[in-house]
């Protein structure tokens, strides 16, 4: 049971790149120094990605999910003292991060986890990528679900994302592949496929 992931070539390179800083830190004896945010954030860029979708649920034009806008770049590299202008509250009672959230069907049973959010050029979320099914990580599939099919309930403790379609309606969807030129997502069944905005 030591099978691990796919997309090997890219990962091998990433892994080698990550090994160097980690090993240097180990060698310098600084391993107990708590999470060690700087090298981690550098290597993975994880934190910004985490904040992005959360903001987008409340404010569609969230800066982090709209990479084409150059205006947000200075804020990201905020090493200098001045705080960004126009700070707005992001209340946890009314907003939430979404990566890794469980998705449940209409019957309340768990279907999978949200692993990514696909956005349009204006930052508007189009689809959620759900890692669907499986047992102990074996046999799960990634499928794309139209964002409008999801219901969110931030603020509740341990809230889960509610999918309005049943397992049977989504399980045979084609696998989502990030590198493919075209992917297909499961849209609302009451809409004609041609009218979907994913085709733009």
């Amino acid at each position: 049971m030591t099978i691990r992931g796919s997309g090997l070539r890219r990962r091998l390179l990433c892994g080698l790149a990550a090994a160097a800083p980690v090993l240097t830190i180990l060698a310098s004896g600084g391993l107990a120094a708590s999470p060690g945010e700087p090298p981690a954030a550098q290597a993975t860029g994880q934190k910004p990605a985490q904040a992005g979708p959360a903001a987008s649920t409340t404010a569609p034009a969230a800066p982090a999910t709209a990479p084409p806008k150059p205006a947000t770049a200075p804020a990201a590299t905020a090493a200098a003292p001045p705080k960004p202008k126009n700070l707005e509250p992001l209340q946890s009672a009314a907003s939430s991060g979404i990566l890794g959230k469980k998705v449940t069907g209409p019957d309340g049973r768990e279907l999978g986890l949200i692993v990514d959010v696909v956005v349009a050029a204006d930052g508007h979320p189009l689809a959620a990528i759900i890692d669907f099914g499986g047992f102990l990580g074996v046999g799960s599939r990634k499928i794309a679900i139209d964002w409008r099919l999801l219901r969110f309930d931030p603020g509740q403790p341990d809230w889960q994302v509610a999918l309005r379609l049943s397992r049977a309606e989504v399980q045979a969807a084609p696998e989502y592949k990030p590198d493919a030129a075209t992917n297909q997502m499961v849209g609302p069944p009451w809409e004609a496929p041609a009218s979907r905005n994913g085709e733009k």
Partner: protein, 430 residues
């Protein structure tokens, strides 16, 4: 019952020869199952099999629930893979050099525990990377050290039976671990799985007590013929044709084998309803049950009929399994076919340490040789998923399964054509 009787008989006839032989460890006059050390090994294998379950593909699920992105999860997992590959051979050499194998097992299990706790307590990048490295290295020392203790406990004449029991109890542990952790992840939380793993390392330490007294036996196994110096024995070993062919055939086998379960699992998820997860669980646990049932018999077969036959028997299940999966229209058919995986698992679980000890058991480099074989298996496993994924993307699942069956056929052909028998003609001959 009949099985145990026969095991006792073989053990009794084998024991005098084993006593005369200068071989590995002190002479053992009781059958491997009933000596305290033998029972200790049984339990040790069970608990170690138990705790290894949590560190599989489940890490990806857990990190996802902690808000990790796909990219950073891939990074952490490949860091683990790379450090496992890099540490196989050095870890083997290290175990060779340490006389007290029980201490190696002890610290490896503690390291497992530490890794699991790091995952559970602090799922942020640096601790997770650290946990991956710790876990990779300690799994590279744990397996060889347990095999070396078995070598010392059983003596050369009963080694097949001993490794048969090791494999049986390891797979029982694996099956229990998968069931426990699946339930824990479902009913409690993903994080609890790692706390459970850490907790299960404690009972794994208990069976070490009877084994710790075997310290000198471990030394004998490791250093037996090492009078010629450390490096003198190494070169002929690593250029030994038998070891190279054995490693190459296992690499090919794993290349064809490792990706089958993920492929079948995702096909089940796509086509079967809400029972898909249960069927996948059955596809994982059923082979473990088969391994538990047959590996002692496989070990006996390897002693009586030779290693080659058992290796061929195990390997030839892979092309058959690939063909059956590729041809099957009903995905639920996958579960009974997984019996074949159990046969292969038992054969490989028994033969990897057994054939390696045939070749390197007295060279003083047994663990290094095991590390070398493990390295070859690791390469096969790592390439397998990307190979199958690439074929499946372009040509579909059936062709990918046929391709994997083809690789399995090549592995079988390699054993058939090139792998010599490594069993010494009579148990106990010098």
């Amino acid at each position: 019952m009949a099985r145990n009787d026969r095991a006792g008989k073989v053990a009794r006839t084998g024991a005098p020869g084993g006593g005369k032989d200068s071989g590995a460890g002190p002479p053992v006059t009781s059958p491997p199952a009933t000596s305290p050390a033998g029972r200790g090994l049984d339990w040790l294998n069970l608990f170690v099999g138990n705790i290894q379950t949590g560190f599989g593909p489940f890490i990806a699920v857990y990190l996802t629930t902690q808000g990790w992105t796909e990219t950073s999860i891939g990074l952490a997992l490949s860091l683990g893979t790379i450090s496992a590959m890099a540490s196989q051979v050095p870890a083997g050499a290290m175990v060779d050099a340490i006389a007290n194998k029980a201490a190696v097992v002890f610290f490896s299990i503690l390291a497992f525990s530490l890794g699991a706790l790091l995952f559970a307590i602090q799922p942020t990048p640096l601790p997770v990377y650290l946990a991956e490295i710790i876990h990779s290295f300690s799994s590279c020392t744990l397996g060889p050290a347990i095999a070396a203790i078995s070598l010392a406990v059983a003596g050369p004449a009963m080694l097949g039976l001993r490794f048969g029991r090791n494999t049986r109890f390891a797979s029982i542990g694996n099956g229990i671990g998968a069931a426990l952790m699946g339930a824990c992840g479902y009913y409690v939380s993903e994080r609890a799985v790692f706390f459970l793993t850490a907790a299960l390392t404690l009972p794994a330490l208990v069976p070490l007590l009877p084994l710790a007294r075997l310290g000198t036996g471990g030394r004998a196994a490791g250093r037996d013929a090492g009078s010629g110096g450390w490096r003198d024995g190494l070169r002929p070993l690593l250029t030994d044709r038998r070891l190279l062919i054995f490693a190459a055939s296992l690499m090919l086998f794993t290349l064809g084998n490792a990706a089958i379960l993920p492929l079948i699992g995702s096909a089940l998820t796509e086509r079967v309803g809400s029972t898909a997860s249960l069927l996948i669980a059955a596809c994982i646990v059923l082979p473990q049950l088969v391994v538990a049932a047959i590996s002692p018999a496989i070990g006996r077969l390897a002693e009586t009929r030779g290693r080659r036959l058992v290796l061929l028997l195990g390997f030839c299940t892979l092309p058959i399994r690939g063909l059956l999966f590729a041809a099957a229209s009903d995905p639920a058919f996958a579960v009974p076919v997984q019996i074949l995986d159990g046969i292969a698992g038992a054969a490989i679980g028994v033969l990897v340490p057994l054939v390696t000890s045939d070749i390197a058991g007295r060279s003083g480099h047994f663990n290094l040789a095991l590390g070398f074989v493990g390295f070859a298996i690791g390469i096969g496993a790592t390439l397998s998923t990307s190979l199958a994924g690439a074929i499946a993307d372009r040509f579909g699942n059936s062709i990918a399964l046929l391709g994997l069956a083809g690789v399995g056929l090549a592995a079988t052909a390699l054993v058939w054509g090139a792998m010599p028998e490594t069993r010494t003609p009579q148990p106990g001959t010098p």
